[in-house]
């Protein structure tokens, strides 16, 4: 039986080789479809992997509470000072009342100008604690990060982000230099490594670029700058009073995240009649991102499926032509004792050989996805640097990731396409009247 299968396969190949161009074109359709499936899924996986990685950077065990500016008529205090957001009391209450809490890291950020001699740049001045480095997955390239002692003594020390350092200290080591923010000078004790900016995730977490940060102790920020930030705009002065910009709460176990987030919300509700904060749970974002990715993948597979469908129709077309052309051969075979199912299996074998060959080629090219995309991007960058620069960062840095399931699925679908689209021509061949077929010229 199996030797008969090989015989059928061998004869099928022989017939296909008789029309190399025709068979090649049929294969091409499936090949393109399969390659499209693998590439599109790989790109989708790449994009969502980036997003998930960014969310994981936020820490699955973390709950991020941020101050947000409420509508202007609903703020605490009066006058032109708008007071809102998280309070130091909130922080204390969290530490005191949440049993599952491992740590809570408060932070205050303000946009400021930083100077060194004649160089000026806008930075994000971040008042934080020593834990800030770890929870944001930052790394030091030079010197050290802020220590508990710095906080205790409210020293005028600063750690500078990579891009800010490059602007202010293009040719020198920033360690030990004095950085000026408003009237105060801070000794630079460290520099962080370059960190790829994260894309924005969800409403409450905007895109973050850590490279233009300057970190100082939270206590120093409180004493030297204070809670109030005044801005003058078009003749009128406006001010904001914000005690803390963000509190990052970490729990021991992943399972405690949801309950802890609920406690935090309850705690904050009590003392904030106006909602001037947002609670973000990276774990939820991660789950959302995974659902989103699934839908995205489904869409891509659908698109690629259309490519495969078109390929299948191409194969069917060619097989129908082949069947018509080989009517006489079918008649001869029937006269010599071929049953209808022999004819079906003969033509079906040919179609499946075509589609499976296309599938295998597609899988092979599918594996070339990474070099192909990286190469294309490099060429595009040479030819059209502006176009590339204007693309979003997650496309610029897209690293396709081949999903093993897509390889298997694409190949199986290609074989399936062969069977589905081969069946009709094969049955048409088998149903022919042998006498008519023999008479066919």
């Amino acid at each position: 039986m199996s030797s008969r299968f090989w015989q059928t396969l061998r004869l099928g190949l022989k017939s296909l080789l008789l029309h190399k161009l025709r068979s090649g074109l049929a294969i091409l359709g499936i090949f393109i479809g399969v390659t499209a499936v693998i590439w599109l899924v790989a790109m989708g996986e790449g994009v969502s992997y980036q997003a998930q990685q960014q969310i994981k950077d936020l820490g699955a065990n973390n709950i991020i509470v941020r101050s947000i500016k409420p509508p202007s008529d609903a703020t605490r205090g009066g006058g032109f000072f708008m007071a809102y957001g998280l309070l130091r009391d909130d922080y204390d209450r969290m530490v005191a009342n949440i049993p599952t809490l491992l740590q809570a890291v408060p932070m205050r950020e303000i946009r400021k100008e930083a100077r060194y001699l004649d160089k000026v740049t806008d930075v994000r001045l971040v008042g934080c604690t020593a834990k800030y480095l770890e929870i944001n997955n930052l790394r030091m390239s030079r010197g050290r990060f802020l220590s508990d002692k710095d906080l205790e003594r409210a020293d005028n020390v600063a750690v500078i982000g990579d891009a800010a350092a490059k602007v202010l200290f293009p040719y020198e080591n920033p360690i030990g230099r004095f950085l000026q923010v408003e009237k105060e000078f801070y000794v630079i004790v460290g520099q962080t490594e370059d960190k790829t900016p994260s894309g924005g995730i969800g409403g409450s977490l905007a895109a973050q670029d850590y490279n233009l940060d300057v970190y100082i102790p939270l206590s120093t920020l409180r004493w030297r700058i204070g809670d109030m930030v005044a801005t003058s705009r078009a003749g009128s002065r406006e001010g904001e009073v914000v005690q803390l910009s963000q509190i990052t709460v970490t729990v021991h176990e992943l399972a405690e995240v949801d309950a802890t987030a609920d406690i935090i919300k309850t705690l904050l509700q009590k003392f904030h009649p106006v909602v001037d904060y947002a609670v973000t749970v990276p774990k939820e974002l991660l789950q959302q991102a995974q659902v989103l990715q699934m839908m995205f993948n489904l869409l891509l597979v659908l698109i690629a499926g259309i490519a495969l469908l078109v390929g299948g129709i191409g194969i069917m077309n060619i097989m129908l032509a082949t069947v018509t052309e080989r009517t006489r051969e079918i008649g001869i075979r029937r006269a010599l004792g071929a049953k209808q199912r022999d004819i079906v299996s003969q033509f079906l074998t040919e179609t499946v050989v075509l589609s499976a060959t296309g599938g295998l080629l597609g899988v092979f090219f599918g594996f070339l996805c990474h070099p192909a995309i990286v190469g294309t991007r490099a060429v595009m960058r040479q030819l059209f640097p502006d176009v590339i620069a204007s693309l979003p960062s997650n496309i610029q840095q897209l690293e396709p990731r081949i999903a093993p399931w897509s390889i298997i699925a694409a190949f199986l679908i290609s074989v399936g396409v062969g069977v589905v689209f081969g069946l009709y021509p094969a049955q048409r061949a088998a149903k022919m009247d042998p006498i008519e077929a023999l008479r066919h010229e």
């Binding site: 008969r4 017939s15 008649g331 004792g337």
Partner: protein, 232 residues
């Protein structure tokens, strides 16, 4: 006498579009004893092709019986008829009807392939048949590399490979020049001398004369039924 094939009161009607009934065969009975060599003659439209198709199990009679090697095959379905063709019948066509993409030996092998027999014995039997028709040195040739006479020899080898009850030849010399036609007739005569039953359709009187007897057909009926000697 043992019968290779016999048909009893066979009718065949074709229904054309529009419901017109064409009565191609109107009650034919013939016996073909084993070792017979019959020529069927008749003008076109006389029903000789229809008769040959019925004898070849490519078609079924509207009415009547057909016994092949003692078995009634007139009620069999398409699948069973295919089986009968591959086991008990050999075909030789006017235009050889070899399959272009297959070699000589693969063409000869086909009936055995459809019997499900692709053993080493089967391959040896094919080689035996090829040497019998004098093509041992052309086994790997393709049909287009052979002359018409050689192609018809391949077809005869193919018709013999399953050791059939009956060989059906449809104008076997129709596409050949007279010298090559003569060669083919000699091959058929030799087969008949070795005991094979041959039923041949032809419209050439001198070809028909090589058979033991001639059956003439007209308007779907047998006209005459003569022993060969009478024609000479």
């Amino acid at each position: 006498m043992k019968m290779a094939a016999r048909i009893i009161d066979v009718h065949k009607d074709y229904i054309l579009k529009g419901g017109i009934v064409v009565r191609a065969l109107r009650g034919i009975s013939i016996d073909f004893p084993e070792g017979d060599f019959v020529a069927i003659m008749g003008t076109s439209g006389s029903g000789k092709s229809t008769l040959l198709n019925l004898l070849g199990c490519l078609d079924r009679a509207t009415k009547g019986e057909y016994h092949l090697g003692g078995e009634d095959v007139s009620k069999l379905n398409d699948n069973e008829l295919s089986e009968i063709r591959s086991r008990y019948l050999g075909f030789v066509f006017q235009s050889y009807n070899l399959i272009a993409q297959l070699t000589v030996v693969e063409n000869i092998e086909l009936p055995l392939y459809y019997q499900g027999n692709i053993s080493r014995d089967a391959r040896e039997r094919c080689l035996e048949m090829a040497s019998m028709v004098g093509l041992s040195d052309r086994l790997d040739h393709r049909p287009y590399q052979l002359s018409g006479g050689q192609q018809q020899r391949v077809a005869i080898a193919r018709a013999l490979v399953n050791n059939p009850h009956v060989i059906l030849a449809d104008e076997p010399t129709g596409n050949l020049d007279s010298a090559t036609g003569e060669e083919i007739m000699q091959v058929l005569e030799a087969l008949n001398a070795a005991g094979k039953t041959i039923i041949m359709v032809t419209h050439e009187a001198d070809v028909a004369a090589r058979a033991h007897r001639t059956v003439r057909m007209r308007d779907g009926m047998l006209e005459t039924h003569t022993p060969t000697g009478a024609l000479n």
